[in-house]
Symmetry: C2
Subunit: 187 residues, 2 copies
DNA sequence: ACCTGAACACCGTTCAAGT
DNA sequence: ACCTGAACACCGTTCAAGT
């Protein structure tokens, strides 16, 4: 059926968007492509690698940050665009977090953040540590948003007001950004 | 076999500590108690509720924070004691995060943090938002630590230096604490 | 080179039936 | 009231065999 890695990742992302991570099984992906689940293993070694491919596909839409920008504004823009990309795909925060945790995936979601910090004079190690802290906040917050969104779709929870999520994200992000920007470059 | 909720949660926690979350299946828990998996459903409605019980059991060991302490010191102490409790049980950060996300569990891991902020004059809403940001950092960081620890045990990864995790945690926590403490109570 | 069929060793959950 | 046996509808993964 002329199936390849790209088509498989695309089908997986389609199922993720429409039905969520719980429904993204090898059998369901095979069905979507008119192929057996076992066929996928000819093109991709295992499910974790497939998940990493989906994570990369999602993160491809994160825009490259503007270079000539004060640090605080750069961090804010990076975090907001990451969040908005994640909110564009169901359970995306969980997929990205899982891939990040096991160290797979070509794209590391905080490299734009690391770059902004390096340009502001931070050394490599400190920049990675600070960026990771910011990333943990973004992934944690969006995971919370998307999990609750799933519970609402499932009917076990009343629909919350999205504005509250936006406000909570703004407050948390402000804390993280001020915490970072208030640091001397090599404290 | 005189099985009850408390014994089941205890057996589940024991399997978590010894073999990890992936091995904590209803059948394995039943085996550990000399009972069928189906028996568990007489005492506990489903696996999510069982996970919530395990999460509560873990969080029971988080000490109540000292009341007469400056805000920054209080936040620091809270975050460090939460991390150290989580590191005491394999995959604990994942268990707590999953329970928190679906809104189950009696104990909310950031209530001590909320209390410290309220004593410092923060209003309820802002205190919850700031505490949640701090919690996302702690859970994200410890999840990363424990996932990598599992990969090392599995032999797919070389043993990292634990000191690096400690340092990364300190840097990230410092950012979050400074970000919070540098805020006016009702900005 | 690529795909199928069929299996292996599991899951969470339900439910009639036993004691 | 509490537990068992057996099933249902799934999983990820492997592998001989087909084309």
């Amino acid at each position: 059926m002329a199936v390849n890695r790209e088509l498989i990742v695309g089908a997986a992302l389609g199922i993720l968007d429409e039905f969520g991570l719980a429904d993204m099984s090898m059998r369901r992906i095979g069905d979507a492509l008119g192929v057996q689940a076992a066929t996928i293993y000819w093109h991709i070694p295992n499910k974790q690698a497939l998940l990493a491919g989906v994570s990369d596909a999602i993160l491809a839409d994160v825009p490259v940050p503007v270079t000539d920008q004060p640090l605080a504004a750069g961090l804010d823009a990076w975090a907001r665009s990451l969040r908005s990309v994640l909110l564009g795909h169901r359970d995306a925060a969980e997929v990205v977090a899982a891939t990040l945790a096991v160290g797979l995936g070509e794209r590391v979601p905080d490299e734009g953040c690391v770059a902004a910090l390096r340009r502001a004079g931070w050394d490599e190690v400190r920049a990675r540590q600070a960026a990771r802290a910011a990333l943990h906040f973004v992934l944690g917050h969006v995971t919370q948003e998307q999990t609750r969104r799933n519970l609402v779709d499932f009917g076990v929870l009343k629909s919350p007001i999205d504005v509250l999520d936006d406000e909570g994200f703004t407050v948390g992000l402000d804390i993280v950004v001020r915490g970072i920007a208030g640091w001397s470059p090599q404290a």
